[in-house]
């Protein structure tokens, strides 16, 4: 895998975390845990290792176990390494009615992996997720922050090929957004 990086946020990310912590009352900085974990996941290769979670705990001045507890509860946090690009296909009722099950099978076949697995080249991880509030444009999948809607096999195939050609890391919290983030506190 990649070179071993020291566990520390970039300056921009650190600044942003402090800004976010100020959004909550004095002494309630623990509230920032969910956004800070999203940033951590974007900073450290798409998943949260124990040392990363310990680092977040120190940042928020809480116990590491408080971070583990939270990180393991919410489905958007990956506690194991994932591919550069995590494909999240909605599998819930309304999407199922429109063919989500077959879409998952199609992607499994195309990438030669099963749901939950990562491709050998480390490019894609396939996840199934619950209703993403996009049922009117079913079937759909999310990659990073982007919703890909009204999918057909062909459309889905093209989209995946595109990500593969770019070969970039994609995260929910877009890194380029971090630096542009507006300072809201007056």
């Amino acid at each position: 895998m990649a070179e071993i990086k020291p566990i520390k946020f970039s300056d921009e990310a650190l600044q942003l975390c402090h800004k976010i912590m100020k959004r909550y009352p004095e002494g309630k900085q623990k509230s920032a845990i969910l956004p800070v974990l999203h940033i951590a996941q974007a900073e450290f290769g798409g998943w949260l290792s124990a040392p990363v979670m310990d680092y977040v705990a120190s940042l928020l001045k809480i116990q590491p176990v408080e971070v583990y507890e939270v990180a393991s509860f919410y489905t958007m946090y990956n506690l194991k390494p994932v591919g550069k690009c995590v494909i999240e296909v909605c599998r819930t009722g309304p999407c199922w009615l429109m063919g989500a099950e077959d879409l998952v099978k199609f992607i499994e076949k195309k990438l030669n992996i099963k749901e939950g697995e990562t491709t050998a080249d480390g490019m894609f991880t396939l996840k199934t997720v619950e209703c993403l509030a996009s049922c009117g444009t079913a079937p759909m999948m999310q990659i990073g922050e982007t919703y890909h809607e009204n999918l057909t096999f062909e459309k889905c195939s093209d989209i995946l090929d595109n990500y593969k050609a770019k070969g970039e890391h994609v995260s929910h919290w877009r890194k380029e957004r971090i630096t542009n983030h507006s300072d809201i506190k007056q």
Binding site: G93, P94, W96, E130, H172, Q186
Partner: protein, 448 residues
């Protein structure tokens, strides 16, 4: 089409920006509200008859009147933008296209409640909408609509967006509050209610995105005028998220009281069933509400046309009716397997149960397993009764309504579609073929 108050002007240029929103009458309601007393704003909302649009339909003005006001203790307004009830996508639609209506509604509502800090809790998956809101909030700060001394009124408000990270249960208001405090989203035992002890143990009101947005037209037109729209106690307009086997899925704003049949078949709305198929069943208010077969959906037990309103949809109680819920209207055509759809929903509730209460944690898992037996062709007739028995032991016996929400779909499916369960038992493994509704060829057809 009836009157539209929330999404009437989405085609106007720049409506997502402050300038575009203002050019179309935006923030007039805020100016008006800031000249009123906070109690007067609450009274207008009470008069409007507005009911919570998040699913429970609780009168908003009444909820606001319950907020405790201990001296020296801050109060909070939290907007529930966790939208994750399967079949519901109206809040995302509205926030993405017209973020300022939510912000304006939140400033007015915070003013009415005497809150000086408010939060929008948005589900983490909608990260791009998080950034749309951040941008819109920044615009509002820059224009003096947020921050200190808003529009010279002396009223201060800070508004922040907070994001979740994937958990349906964080839509339940006390689960949401726990999550906002940086914990697992385990719902709290009530009482105390959030209006007394909410976030950080302070009085808190949690309202849905659409509820808070509706406060804007209410202030603009007055509560009395708003109450004239709609039918009976279902006042105003409602955003309906229409999905499934219809020609025109999407978000529609209806005046409450439109006949269900018109909603499904008219060109203004869903445009009828896809591919010329027949309507089999509908889940009318998000995955949690009882499923109804076509004939019971279109007509009330008295034989009258059923309407899209809180009262009409629930006419006949759970035996014959359903609920308006969140307005997630999921349509199924004649080829749909109700049993398999139910398995999917039950799997969802099992996956999303926070695990605090044994009836919900264990019951949802058992129901999922038993339903899987039907799909695999190994179920027996006794399993139908067992399913019924389990759901009846969850309903009403849990900390939060997720337990009820998991049991109602099961109860209603058995009640109205028992013969389909029996068919699965009789045909056993031969039923496997019809499990995959919408097979490969459907996705190969052009559906984009």
């Amino acid at each position: 089409m009836g009157r539209q108050l929330l999404i009437n002007d989405l085609d106007k240029e720049g409506i997502a920006t402050l300038a575009g929103y203002k050019a179309n009458g935006g923030y007039a309601a805020l100016e008006k509200a800031l000249k009123m007393k906070p109690e007067e704003v609450v009274t207008e909302v009470q008069k409007s008859g507005l009911r919570g649009r998040g699913g429970a339909g609780f009168p908003t003005g009444m909820k606001w009147s319950f907020i405790a006001k201990p001296p020296g203790v801050p109060r909070y307004l939290v907007c529930n933008a966790d939208e994750s009830e399967p079949g519901t996508f109206k809040d995302r639609y509205l926030m993405q296209r017209k973020p300022h209506i939510l912000i304006e509604g939140m400033i007015i509502s915070s003013f009415a409640l005497g809150a000086n800090t408010s939060y929008i809790y948005i589900r983490g998956e909608m990260m791009y909408v998080f950034h749309i809101l951040e941008k819109a909030i920044q615009e509002a700060y820059d224009a003096g609509l947020l921050g200190k001394n808003i529009l010279g009124s002396g009223y201060d408000l800070d508004l922040y967006v907070h994001c979740g990270a994937g958990a349906y249960i964080c839509g339940e208001e006390t689960g949401l509050i726990e999550s906002l405090e940086g914990k697992r989203g385990n719902p709290r035992i009530k009482p105390p209610f959030p209006a007394v002890k909410g976030v950080w143990q302070c009085p808190t009101v949690v309202n849905n995105v659409e509820t808070l947005a509706a406060v804007v037209p209410i202030i603009n037109m007055t509560g009395d005028e708003y109450a004239k729209i709609g039918i009976g106690k279902s006042t105003g307009t409602k955003l309906i998220s229409a999905s499934g086997h219809i020609n025109k899925p999407g978000v529609y704003e209806i005046e409450l009281g439109v006949p269900v049949e018109e909603f499904i078949y008219s060109e203004q709305y869903c445009g009828g069933i896809r591919n010329g198929k027949k309507l089999k069943a509908v889940v009318a208010g998000g995955s949690s509400v009882p499923i109804l077969p076509a004939e019971k959906l279109l007509k009330t037990p008295k034989g009258e046309p059923r309407l899209m309103s809180y009262e009409s949809l629930s006419e006949g109680g759970f035996a014959e009716g359903t609920m308006l819920g969140s307005g997630g209207f999921i349509v199924m055509d004649e080829d749909t397997s109700v049993v398999k759809n139910l398995w999917n929903f039950t799997r969802f509730y099992h996956h999303e149960s926070c695990g605090q209460c044994s009836p919900c944690r264990e019951g949802t898992g058992w129901m999922e397993k038993i339903l899987h037996k039907f799909l695999d062709g190994h179920a027996t007739m006794a399993d139908i009764d067992l399913l019924w028995d389990i759901q009846s032991k969850i309903d009403g016996r849990t900390i939060c309504p997720l337990g009820d929400a998991a049991s109602w779909p099961v109860a209603s499916a058995i009640r109205h579609f028992r013969s389909e369960f029996e068919e699965y038992v009789k045909k056993g493994e031969n039923m496997r073929d019809i499990q995959h509704y919408y097979r490969v060829n459907q996705l190969e057809a052009t559906n984009s």
